[in-house]
Amino acid sequence: MSLPHFEYFAPRTIEEAVALLAGAGGRARPFAGGTDLLPRLQSGLVRAETLVDLKRIPELCAIGFDPASGLTIGAAVRLADLLDSPDVQRRYPAMTDAVSQTATVQIRNMGTIAGNVCNGSPCADSVPVLIARLAHLALMSPRGERLLPIGDFFKGPGETALEPDELLVRIHVPPPPPYTGFAFAKLPARTASDISAVNVGVMVARQGGVCGEARIVLGAVGPVPLRAHQAELRLAGATLGARLLEEVGRLAASETRPIDDLRASAAYRRDMAAVLVRRALVVAATRAGLAVADAAPAGDATGASE
């Protein structure tokens, strides 16, 4: 199929972009890297008469870091830019892990993290860590700006809390809390560079010698990225060991709702959720400075590397 005809705008300010979206009465789409949008337009999965390019808006192209407020990522920041950012490299290693395993070099040079989020795919690789990080999304519309916790953003496959005239302008990631470790793990479905069959973002907070608060977010195993609350609760206050992590992994897996598709069966996804959770927790615990008794080193096949 061929790409349908559309009008293309490249505004220079957020206001102009929002006005264009609002003026199109739901028939416009923000256009970041286009790596999701263009294939979907071409295959007819998405319809749009107007594309509003975000890449010429200088404000949206910035990455900022402030020790008090954390990391701010503009909506036109490309995945590759994030990997190049010293602040991200130094303070948000799990984000680097996630973004470096998102797509390929070529796609990362075009695609944005905001696009990865707004696409609403349950298997988006940058999302689990953003959720574990309690990121907030700054959404702008003619009615003004609102700040939404990213955990409330996903409504279903391809469905988000975005209003048709709303633009994600920034992603806020809180500063790294002390004594915590984050980690990401991905099982690419078939080849080394493939969409995730399962992905996981976790946080472990250290409280003395035990685990304090923990967060576990799983992608590609439900209609939206999921928090494994029961597994998180099991970790709170626990001394980490291989047996416990096995149990937590299984618990997390039982909280998933995967489907069978061409990439993997539901049963395999569920089993792999347990493995990835376990492996990611080992990495996160190590980053938080917590020892895990009898744990096997995290395998690199899942990307749960330090």
């Binding site: 199929m1 061929s2 078939r190 061409l262 069966s265 395999y268 493995v275 096949a301 899942t302």
Partner: protein
Amino acid sequence: MSQKPCIGVNVPRVDAWDKATGTAQYTDDLSLPGMLHGALKRSPLPHARIRAIDTSRARALPGVKAVITSADLPRVRYGNWRFSPNTQDEYALAVDKVRFVGDPVAAVAAVDRDTAIEALDLIQVDFEELPGLFDLDAAMAEGAPRIHEETAGNVSVTREIDYGDLAAGFARADYVRDDVYLMPPVSHAYLEPCSSLAQADSLGRITLWTSTQTPYIVQCLLASVLGLRENEVRVIKPYVGGGFGGKMELRSWDVCAAFLARLLGKPVKFTQTRDEEICAGRRRHPMRLRSRVGFTKDGLLLAKELIVHLDGGAYNSMGPTATFLVGNLGAMLYRYPAYRYRGFHVYTNNPPAGAMRGFGAPQAFFVAEGQMNEASADLGIDPIDIRLKNAMHPGDKIRGFATIGSCAFTECLERVAEMSEWRRQRREMRPGRGIGVGCYSFVTGGNFNWFDTKYPFSAAEVRAYADGAVHLLTMAADIGQGSDTVLQQILAEDLGLRLADVTLYAADTSLSPKGDLGTWASRVTFMVGNAILDATRQIKEELFKVVALKFDTNVVHSFECKDGMVRVKGRPEKAVPFGEAVAMVQSLRRGEPLIARGSYTPRDMGLVAPTYSFGAQVAEVEVDRDTGRVRVTRIHTAHDCGRPLNPQAVEGQVEGCVQMGLGYALTEELVMRQGRTLNASFLDYKIPGALDMPGIDSVCVGGPEPKGPFGAKESGEGPVSPTAPAIAEAVWHATGYRARRLPITAEQVLRHLETNPTANDDRRVKP
């Protein structure tokens, strides 16, 4: 001064610069003034009668110039197997019936591509759906509907091979295996989708630029369909971005482009989308293979019975050859004293399968090598040792169809064992890792004249000029394998010239000498190379005469072309520069240029091929026992391709084969449901990428093949077969899991490990 040799040395590909810089023009890059764009309306149903087609709304769309259906086209069926006209079962546009999802029913020509595609949706086809047959058993079942009226039982081709005393062999056997293997359909996944551009002159003669491996076949069949004489069709092959067997037939879009160009008096171009390529392009045959082999307890082969059902899909395409080749290849590699083969090519309502790299061999050897590996484990004989016991040797005969020429299979096995430190690694590898071996043999060219050509199988014209330049004209089709480079090397070497002295004009049927059957069966270097040597022999004869005359040489002397000179052997002072010698010949001929035509046709060389390549490959894998994921960490190959004329090109072919074999083993499969291909994009059809590639060592083993040009055999297809069985064996070594179907998925391995968590660790030496 002596020149560098052109043969046996690494020569950069002549097309490398154009391809790397993007200046190479592929068919879809071509554009002619006034050119129209075509698109095909394809069947959404796997099996249906066409009650009526209404094209009026499509024709009314502004920008649409014509819409055609089978009613407009001459009713001529075509197919590559001209030798058996009853196998020619395809029309360019479906007549009365569609037989697979994607069967073309109508074609549009419009001012641009978007309009052409828009028009497709306006074509209304009134279908009456028929029951679809999607698997072998359903298609062969008693009373199954016929997919083609003429073919009762839906078996379109059968092939039988019998030799030796099978019953006696099995009776003597201490150990018999009887296994069924299922092989999946996979895509060629060539990067350049098919494209063709047709232009008609005022008399209706056609020039067709098309992405093909077989210009001559396209020329002949297109002429027959259009009711033209063969020589009123000119086929030009521009740069081709890979074919792997998928571009060796006349295709619907070639016919529609040419027909519409004649009808409208304007050039028309059709280019396939990836979706069309994956859903409706050719594919490697899915097969069910049942193989029974008998061994003595010492591991000697006694008998083999191979029964193969090929799911050919809706049309024969190259299926008849596949049916022959699996049977032939099933008897290769090892000495089988008795052999029985039954091959059945079955029509189904799946998309048609065709030729694909290694044609028949990946399936035949996955089975043969898999069984060899299983036998080795059960008999307690090392996998390499059991192969050495049974290996073919030079001069071996397979009754009725083949005589083995040069064969360094034993050396390949020994060498690959050395390269991979096989014996140590096999014993000592730590749990979770595995090492396995797979072997192969392949034809170097095909002897069987299934196209029923009336010309030589290959031809070359060499034109030598007084300025020292030489032109080579041939129909050989370089589709990325590098034949343009190696053919120039052969010519330059034989005339003692430099590569820069040679210019190649290839694959234009109006300029190239007739004929050439094209690029398949690893035939080009061997056959066209031999045709070139036939031509240069004639050129040299003329040149030697004038040099003899000039120096009044003694009759016992002989001559040579070397270092840019034509000279008396052993008398370097008696030499004439090449161009000067040509000028002398030309002058003696009162101006007639020095041109020679050479050809090659294999005769008296059996039914299959003039000669065969051999090789052995070892794969090392690492299995993640928690996820079942297999990572191939290293591949070692020892390949007998005769003499490697351009070693780095051979290495490139071996590595490309590994990439394909890796996909076949682990990630590739066209997922089918009721005749529909579900994974019709590279997002869902996964070929291995750079990150998946293991380190690869490859070496060439063996001496020159006497029948080959400068001793060469094949290297482009054989090495595609061993990778999957070698990986499968390595996975078994690591986990105890035996794959008898492909691809080997992580989930299969994981499920096996759940029930056998320490399987196979006990086979190793305890650390």
